[in-house]
Every structure is written in structure tokens, then in C-alpha cells.
Symmetry: C2
Subunit: 677 residues, 2 copies
């Protein structure tokens, strides 16, 4: 039996690796000698990144011969590339070494997705300069909002021991054009800037470098005080400024291509310049000045809100718009896609396009803090694109968030796009096999925000699973439907933030904590009462609509024209309000929740039909996750409908599947979950 197994292994060398998801979308089959001898991969350079490009092609490329060439003069390419193929050979040219590496992965992607790999005329220029992952990894290896195991970074072992996963991580990122990473949590420990940790950071930076990945760090604004006993960390104090200058110098001594700092300041208890009566600009500029000589940047987060009477959705705008023009040119304001916090659906943050003189970047969240953790299958490209494609009208039509941030509409030094990673030390990296697609999709959109969600899904499926059309087509559809499903069963029609306290996994529309911040309470957001439900952000309410440019201000502000998928975001709507399809608001709410449940059940059916096409392990693991999702969808539906029904006082339409839970029982569910794993 053992011998037979060994023979089988010999017969199928391509299935030597375990189908555990550890390979991600990088499942290239090594070419045999015969193929390798038939074509050459030529390159005149010793640069390690370029050599890596060559090596990847040597190992896996099945097409004709390739010549790789660096031409620093074609600056317009930035770190992009040109590929030309006439059927007899392929020419690749790039202005930077990483460009050649990205081109190599482009060619391999074409090969793996069954495209023509001989006749090629490609020019790819990335939309953003900095395509960066934010890891919310703590130094104790817990990961805030991480659902895929502990942190990849084994700080205890570093710098001496290097896990093989560091290079695998860098390769995966490079394969989709990600070129930067913030290693540590925005709720940053000052310790990351100590000499000891900088040695460790250097080791990671060294491991990533040939893949074109630059390392960034989240900086704790109080570091001078905490680490070296300065009396405070006031950004206008010379001593503090000198501390940062010295610290930055120390960092660049270790890591000459260090990217810069990400800072969460004066938000959710983090220290910041306002502690000393200074502005966000004062704080950001101090760091920017220290980094400037080395080409480093500061990504300063706009995610700030305080427990005031003001609508939380308005605060980032209110704090940052007055500072427009006051930031150094190597500061980028990093803005969450929506004005609250990575909800299943939000309108775009009105701060986008509201600071003409200041570079802005989007912060997405790949990790599914508010989307079922790594239990729910939710393909996020449609969510990412919804923000990127959103028309802000800041400079009239054609002022999408994408065009504002990719600098089509400005002339900023550097452009960037970021997302909070969903990566941990789980064998399959992301907990859910399909969560890999969200990492993938972010990278692809960061490179080219014009790609369609469908195309990204399809190429990911091809590479990750199989090219069998009977598998690709239904799975692509499932992925495309998955985001609307989660909106439906969690928070349809513009509802938001009715999650269970702190861990944000299940529903808790009834949530309340004595003495807690109102803007941490679900009732703050849903405002359900006997009249209706929803947050009045029109002029009669918080007037958050006024932060949007016309015609959005009017569009959102009028209950008649407001898109129904944002209705309860902007309006407090009577239960009996007639929706476009003729249903009352209450009935429509019920139908949406139910549709979400039914959709997940359909996902299960779709998936189960596909068992024959893929390996047993991933099939079963995804099947199990879908079971959880199906149960959770019913939990969400029952919890929200039974809770809101006490206000609407209307029956759940009788044609819909009935609740199976008791509201009082659901209220007692207290999951033993933390902020971090």
C-alpha cells in the first residue's frame, strides 16, 4: 500500500504539495527539463529582484523565450512594465527592477488562466505608487481583528531565525503588485522603535527586499516620552523633534529603504498632538520633516472620533478639512472607505475630495472585522470598487474616489492605497480559503482600479482552484453575490454598526452599556422607535449630508431620491414608508434579511455541487465554513427582525421563513471573543 502510494506520487508530481491552501494562488507547476531546454530567459543584470524575475520564469514558464530588460529612462512606467510577444519570443522592459518581477508574475498569470501567452502587447502602469498592507499585529503576536491565527512575525525568533513564510508572504504580495507593508498595529506599542526591535524589523525588511516590498512601521506618538523619558511628546518641542530625527536616522541606518510611518493619533485613546494642544498637522509634519531627507512618508489616519454630541460620521471631515494645505508634501491622509468603520455597506467618506491641497489615500479592511471574521465567505472586490468608483463630484463629474487618490485630479508627490491585512499564521494564511481572494483582489485593484470584480474573481479561481468552467462560472457568481448577501442578512438598507459589543461578530441591535460611549452603542446608529428606524443625517438631523458635494447632498438628503441601499444611513424612515417595489419599509427589511439567509443556502448548494472538481480538503473546509455562515445568517435575521419588531409592531410577512430563535435567548449570547485572536 505504501509502495503504491509512492508510485502514485511519482506519477503525479504536480500534486506533491498538500491541498491545504498554503500555496495561495501561486500553484505553478515546475517545468520539466525538456521544456526548460527549449526556451531561454535572458537577463543582463545581477540585481536580486531582477534575478528573481528570471528565476520564477525559468522555473514555471512554458511559453517561448523571454528577454528581460531594464530601461530606467521610461519613467512613465513607474514600477510597471511593457510586454511584447510576436509568437517567437517575448520582450519585457521595465524602468525599475520590481517592474520586471511584476511582469514575470503577469506572464505566469496569463499562463495559468489559459490566456494567449505568445501574442502580447501589454503596458501596465500601476495606479498607485504605494500599495500597502496594514498589519494590525501586536508584538505579543496577537492580531487585532485577526482571524487567521497569530501574527506571521515571530518576534522572539527574530532577527536570528527567519521563518520560510516571510519570503512566501513577500512573494505572494509581489505576485499581485503589493510593494509595501506596515508590520505592526496602528494601536502601536512604542517598543517597536527600540533598538532591539529595529534589528528584528531589519531582518524582515531584508527578507522582503528582493520582492520589492518596503517596510513601514506604525508609530506611537508618545514614543519619545515612553522610550526615552522625555517630559512629553509635544511635536512643537525641539527636544521631541530631535528625538524623532535621531530615531529616523537610526531606522534608516538599519533599513535604507524604510518606507515611513503610519500613525493613529488622538483616536480611541491613542496619544497624539492634541494632547499638547497641537493639531494633527503639527504632529504629522514633525514626523514628515524627520523622514523627508530619506524619502520617507507619513500616513496619518483620519479615523478620529470623540465622544461628543456630534454625529460620529461627521468628525473626520470636521477635524481634517480645516487643516487642508497645512501638511507637508510627504504626508498622506489615510481615510477609511466609509465614514464610520468598515461596515458591510457605507457611503464613501465625504472627506475624500474635501482637501484639495492634501494627498489622500483609502484605507480598506481586508480582514473581516464586520463581515463574519474568517467564517463567512464574502468577496470584497465589489465593496472596494464601490468606494473607488464612487463619484464625489468634488471637482465636478468624474471625480471618483479612485481619481482623487490616484492623483489623476491632483499632482501629489506619491499616491498610495492601503488595506488592513487578513493574514495570520494559519496554514491557509487567511482562515477562510476564500478570504485569500480578498488579499488578492486588494493587490490587483491597488495596481489597477479599473479591473472588474468579475475578472479578478475569475483569475483568482483559475489560479487557486481549477480552470474547469463548470467550477469557475458558478464560483465566480457565488463570489459576486456574496457581498450583497452579507449586507442583506446583517445590515440591509443602510443599517450599520448593530454588532455585538467589542468583538463585532454577531448581532446586538439591543446592545447597551451603562456609561459607555453612545457612539459605541447600536441604538446610536439604528435609532429604532415606534415611528421608524434609521439615522437622520439630513438637515433636520445631524446634517452629515452637507459634507457631500452636490448633487449628492440633495440626492442623499431627500428620502425620495436616496438610494435604498443607503436609506437608513441617511434617514429615519417610518415603518410604513413605501419602498420602490411597493412594500413597506418593514416588509422590505424582512425580505432583505430573509433573502440574505436564502442566498447563503444557495451558496451551500452551489458549493456542494462542485465537490468533484477540487481537492477534498479545501472542499470540506469551505463547506464547513458555509455551514457556519448559514447558521449565522439565520441568527442575524432572527435577532434583528425580532428586536426591531418590538418597535415596528408589524408581523414578519407570513410567506417568509419564521424565526427559530427567541429574542431573549439571543440577547444572552455572550461570545468569548476578544478584539484579537
Amino acid at each position: 500500500m505504501r509502495r503504491l502510494f509512492f508510485l502514485l506520487l511519482l506519477l503525479f508530481p504536480c500534486s506533491l504539495f498538500a491541498e491545504d491552501g498554503s500555496q495561495l494562488w501561486l500553484r505553478y507547476t515546475p517545468v520539466d527539463k525538456h521544456i526548460a531546454q527549449q526556451r531561454t530567459i535572458s537577463l543582463q543584470a545581477k540585481d536580486q529582484t531582477m534575478q528573481l524575475a528570471k528565476q520564477e520564469l525559468e522555473s514555471y514558464w512554458r511559453g517561448s523565450s523571454i528577454s528581460l530588460r531594464l530601461d530606467k529612462k521610461i519613467k512613465k512606467l513607474r514600477d510597471g512594465y511593457q510586454i511584447k510577444g510576436d509568437g517567437t519570443g517575448v520582450e519585457v522592459v521595465a524602468a525599475e527592477p520590481a517592474g520586471l518581477l511584476y511582469a514575470a508574475y503577469h506572464l505566469l498569470r496569463l499562463q495559468e488562466t489559459g490566456a494567449d501567452i505568445e501574442h502580447l502587447d501589454i503596458e501596465e502602469i500601476p495606479d498607485y505608487d504605494i500599495r500597502i498592507l496594514n498589519h494590525w499585529d501586536n508584538l505579543d503576536r496577537t492580531v487585532e481583528r485577526g482571524y487567521a491565527g497569530y501574527s506571521l512575525w515571530k518576534w522572539d525568533e527574530l532577527p536570528k531565525q527567519l521563518s520560510p513564510r516571510y519570503e512566501q508572504y513577500a512573494r505572494a504580495n509581489a505576485s499581485i503588485g503589493i510593494n509595501a507593508t506596515v508590520l505592526n498595529n496602528v494601536n502601536a506599542s512604542p517598543q517597536i522603535l527600540t533598538a532591539d526591535y529595529l534589528e528584528k524589523v531589519k531582518a524582515l525588511a531584508d527578507a522582503f527586499r528582493k520582492y520589492g516590498i518596503k517596510v513601514y512601521l506604525s508609530a506611537n506618538f508618545s514614543s519619545p516620552k515612553v522610550l526615552d523619558g522625555l517630559s512629553d511628546s509635544d511635536p512643537l518641542r525641539k527636544e521631541v523633534q530631535a528625538w524623532w530625527v535621531a530615531k529616523v536616522k537610526e531606522i534608516y541606518t538599519h533599513i535604507p529603504d524604510f518606507g515611513g510611518f503610519l500613525v493613529k493619533a488622538n483616536s480611541e485613546g491613542q496619544p497624539g498632538p492634541q494632547d499638547y494642544g497641537r493639531t494633527h498637522a503639527d504632529g504629522a509634519n514633525m514626523l514628515a520633516d524627520a523622514l523627508k531627507p530619506y524619502g520617507g512618508v507619513v500616513m496619518w489616519r483620519a479615523f478620529v472620533y470623540n465622544p461628543t454630541e456630534e454625529d460620529r460620521a461627521k468628525q473626520a471631515y470636521q477635524e481634517f478639512v480645516p487643516l487642508d494645505g497645512k501638511f507637508r508634501d510627504n504626508v498622506i491622509i489615510q481615510i477609511k472607505n466609509g465614514p464610520i468603520d468598515f461596515q458591510p455597506r457605507e457611503p464613501f467618506t465625504p472627506l475624500f475630495g474635501a482637501m484639495e491641497k492634501t494627498p489622500q489615500m483609502v484605507e480598506f479592511q481586508i480582514t473581516q472585522e464586520y463581515l463574519g471574521f474568517s467564517n463567512h465567505l464574502v468577496y470584497l472586490a465589489p465593496l472596494f470598487k464601490e468606494t473607488l468608483d464612487a463619484e464625489t463630484y468634488s471637482q465636478g463629474p468624474n471625480s471618483s474616489v479612485a481619481r482623487i487618490t490616484d492623483s489623476s485630479l491632483g499632482n501629489h508627490q506619491k499616491t498610495a492605497i492601503s488595506a488592513v491585512a487578513n493574514i495570520g499564521e494559519d496554514t491557509n494564511w487567511t482562515g477562510h480559503h476564500f478570504a485569500q481572494a480578498n488579499w488578492y483582489a486588494f493587490g490587483r485593484l491597488a495596481w489597477n482600479h479599473q479591473l472588474s470584480s468579475e475578472q479578478i474573481a475569475e483569475e483568482w479561481i483559475y489560479q487557486t482552484f481549477t480552470d474547469e468552467p463548470n467550477f469557475v462560472q458558478p464560483v465566480r457568481q457565488l463570489m459576486m453575490d456574496s457581498r450583497e448577501a452579507v449586507v442583506d442578512y446583517m445590515m440591509p438598507l443602510g443599517l450599520h454598526h448593530i454588532f455585538a459589543f467589542d468583538h463585532h461578530y454577531g448581532p446586538e441591535p439591543w446592545g447597551d452599556r451603562k456609561g459607555g460611549r453612545p457612539d459605541w452603542m447600536p441604538w446610536y446608529y439604528h435609532n429604532a422607535d415606534t415611528v421608524g428606524i434609521g439615522f437622520d443625517r439630513t438637515k433636520s438631523g445631524s446634517d452629515a449630508v452637507s459634507q457631500y458635494h452636490e448633487p449628492l447632498r440633495t440626492l442623499y438628503g431627500d428620502i425620495k431620491s436616496c438610494p435604498e441601499n443607503l436609506l437608513l444611513w441617511f434617514h429615519h424612515v417610518p415603518w410604513g414608508h413605501t419602498m420602490k417595489n411597493g412594500r413597506t419599509l418593514w416588509d422590505e427589511l424582512c425580505f432583505r434579511y430573509d433573502r440574505g439567509v436564502q442566498d447563503v443556502r444557495e451558496f451551500q448548494k452551489t458549493w456542494d455541487r462542485l465537490e468533484q472538481y477540487i481537492d477534498a480538503q479545501r472542499f470540506t473546509e469551505v463547506q464547513s465554513k458555509l455551514k457556519i455562515q448559514a447558521k449565522d445568517a439565520v441568527w442575524w435575521k432572527d435577532a434583528c427582525l425580532l428586536y426591531f419588531q418590538a418597535f415596528s409592531n408589524m408581523p414578519i410577512p407570513y410567506e417568509l421563513e419564521r424565526p427559530i430563535h427567541e429574542l431573549e435567548t439571543l440577547k444572552k449570547i455572550k461570545l468569548d471573543m476578544k478584539h484579537h485572536n
Copy 2:
């Protein structure tokens, strides 16, 4: 506000009692003085039962005057009655006092169900002499297989203190013709026969007497030895016989109308005559001889099985048929409806009709040991009638179980029918409001087994809830569908006894206990393997089919003719076997389980639509139970299909809703439930 409420109370005197189910189906509204003065209820007798009949009519009758008359000569009526009404008055005649009481309840039932109560020509003669409930109540007030709270009998308080529920219990029974009750568990404590307890029993008998209810006791066969230190309890020993003679005399001194003994002997560890090498007949006859002078009877249970190689389904037949003709004429063999143990569906026990010279009675189980306890809505009249109407062919066609046991086909001294009660001290008596219907249905069928399940359901709904047709019709349909639903989601196609060990609540087809009796293990019954599933009881298997008369032997024995709802009871059937509808066995099994789930979901929809017609309390309580049932149905379906799928190795048809549970997780469920509450 308070005052308004008080005024409302005055306006609606009929809703003065709480709608908590405590009234059962006895929700008569007292007549006002005006009505009472317009008609008379005349009776010439001081007998307390007859006086009670008069009193019930005085209180609640809204029709014309009634004359109640006892005529002992009309013996054919037994404890039945005749009612004649010509529009100006009603004449009731009976041969026994209880007959007048039953007639009174008959009239009130007509009144409450909206029937004509003036023009009457009724003759009712009960089908069985003894219509008896078996309480499996222990002396510590736990109830074996009881799901409605502790025992009604407060032994500690007896005989001095009498709970008002004793009379309410007797009245409810009388209202449906039940005239006997066994107070204690068949797994009997010898203590029940001590002088102390007999005082308590006497108090209950006294409370029940005017309602026509006779008391019986379960007797522990070892009582002589345990209570009075006899060296053994050998039924052929004079000393033992004398002990019983004395004990019976003692009982009758207290309770002159004592009914007799129910005995579970040599079964599941209970003592019995076989302990001394004697037969069941030896044991039963000893007790029968002691009871004979007083008119008492012995109900001797045929539920015996031992851990042998023999098919458990065959054992009662094998042990009892050879004893036919050897029992005294005041012994009745009490036989469970099916050969195993109160399963959702069983064929009738072949012992029925197999002992021509011996009176037989059916034992049903009203308490839902194998039917979801008091959580699942399962209307049992269709199950009861399935057995009663079953053709045994013991004396050719027209030899139904009903006709065998009601003595149409014999000439036995006394006929009887029994059922294990589902009654406890819960406010609503039976845990589930709809479980009241099963108590009701048993009583009605014990009186007249020709009644249809629909009719019984309808009259119960009228009396228990409302006469609103929009309520009655759908609820009747729901009840009628409920038994097939539970069969579908628990054990379709003849599957049986794949319940969790001991408590029998959830599914455990994988159940196994090292060293445990095979016939307590689910695998003993389902026999699932890679070939197929089911218990081969044909000639090639245990040959249990041969215990049935022709044509059943052939019908059941041939896979082609065997009714599909008993297929896996009698056959080990290949997974690919083609069912009548063209599906494979495996697919059909999946469809049945799924149909059960969908049916319960439909019950929920039906129920929720009816909220407007009844009181909030009962509406909500039933709604909650249906939620549990819906969840449990999915649990059952997933557990059984996922477990059996490991043998069938076939996919669950993809159009069906997918499992939401993991088999391994379900296997870990260990409910903290006992045999008794």
C-alpha cells in the same frame, strides 16, 4: 389605567381565567341566572356521580331542559347513554351513573362545538370497558418519560391534603370517558403497597370516585419479599400467594372499587415469575386469583425482551403465544402498539390476534418519549388509529387490532385500552399546549375507535381555542400533518430507534456503548453498511415477518410489496434500490428528511398567521415550541443524513437544503437529560 382594566374585566367575564392552558378543553362559560331560570335539569337520585352530571349541566348548559334518568336494565349501554331531544327538551338515560355524567359532557361538547343541541337522537356505547391511563410516576414525584413537570400526586401531602388538581384531573378524564388510572410507574416501587401508601391511594381514589374513575396500581412482583421479608416471591409458593391474598384484601378494605394491578415482570431488570423458573401465566394467575373475589383484573405487560441473539421485535410473541389459554379470565395481556417501543412509526405488534383464548389490550404512549418530548407538536390520533385500524387477518379479513381488543372477535369478560399519560404538574398539564390534544384523543378513541382523527382534532380545537373557522381549519390540518412530519424528520421509511441513548430526545444513529446490550444500540436497528440500510426481518433475516398472518407475511416479506413507510423495518435495502417514485432509496431518504424540516417550517408559518385569533400567552408558548421543533428537525436531518452518507457514499440531492451541522460536532452533543424529569 387600572380602573379601565377593571372595567374591561367586568365587561368580559368569560376571560376571567388566565389563558395558561390550565383549563384544558373544559372552557365552558357559566350560564347567567336568566338562562338558568329558563330551563331545568331534573334528576331523581342522590348518587354523587349523577349529581355531578346535573351540576355540570346546571352550570353550563344553554339548551332546553334536561331530564336525567338511570335505568339499570338497559345493560347493552354498559356505561354509555342515550340522548333524545325534540326541540322542547332533552331526555338522557343511562344504565350506570357514570353514563349520565358522560352524557352531560357529551351535551356540553355539542354545545361548545356549535352543533345542534336541540334535536338529538344519540346512543353511545363505549368500545372498551376499561379506558385507562398509565402514569409512570415514581413515589419521589419524578415521572419516567414525563415532560410536564413533576408528578401530580403529592405523596408527602397525602392523604391529609388534597390538591385541587386531583378533581380537575378526574373531571378532565371523565369529560372524555376515561374511567381508570394506574397511579404509579410500571417500574414499580414495592412501597406503593405499604399501609402508609395505601392510605394515600385511598385518598386519591376517594377524590376520583364521583367522576367514575377507578384506581389501579402497578405492582412490583417482589413485593412479598421486599416488604415483608418472605424468602422469595415465587408465585407457586403458598406463602407468597397468601401474602398477595392478604394484601389485596387490605387494599379492598380501603378502596372497595379498586381496579386491579398492572405488572411489568421480567423485563428490563424488573422481577417476575421467571426469576423462579415460573411462567408469566403463573405470575399473572397468582395475582388474578387474589383479585378475583373483588372483581379486580390483572393487566400483564407483554413488553418483555432479553439480551439474546433473537430479534427484539420477535420476543413478546415468542414468550406469550405459547401461554395462550393458560391465563385466568381476569388477566388481560397489555401489548404495546408496536413490537419495539413507541417509535414514530412501527407496524402493529404481531402478538395482537395471536392468542385467541387470551384477552389483549393495547398500550399506547401519549407521553412523547420518542416524539420530541413536550417540545414537538405531534398529534397522535393518526398514530393511535393506525394501530387500531391495522388489519391483523388473525381471523381473516376484518380482524383489526381494534376488533381483537374490543372483543368484537372474542367473548372476553372485560375489554380495556391503555395509554401512558403525558400529564404532570405543569400549569398546562402536558408541557406543550397541543399535547393536551393527545390526552384528549386517547380518551375519545378509547370510547369510540371509529372516530376520525380529523373530527377529534376539530372538536378539541373548538373547545380548547376558538370556533373561528379561519383558525380551526388550518390548525386541524397542521395537526393532521404533524405525525408524518415527525416520522419524516426523525425516522422515515421504517427506520426506528436511532435515538440518543437513554433519554431518547435527539438523533444518535452512531450510538454505541461498549458492553451495552446490542438491542439498546441504534446500529442494531438501522444496520447501515456500504450495501444498504434497514433490518432484514424477512426469511433471510430474523424472519419476524413469519409472526404475521397471511397475507401480511408475504406482503411485508417481499421488498416489492412492502409498504414503503415500513420498508426499512422489514428489509435491508440497497442504497440504489428504486422506490415507487423512481428515486433511489438514498435520494428518497434525503427527500423525506428534508420534507420533515420543510413541514415544520410550514407549521410555523401556519401558526404565526393565526396570532389574531387567540390569546397571546398560548400563542407565544406554542410559537416558541415550534421554533425548537424547527431547529430539532434540522438537527435530526443533518445528523442522520451525514451519518448514513458515510455508508451510502452518495451525495445529498443538490436541490435540497444543505446540512448546517458537522457530524463530528453533533456526535459530541450529550444532553443533560434523564429518564425522568
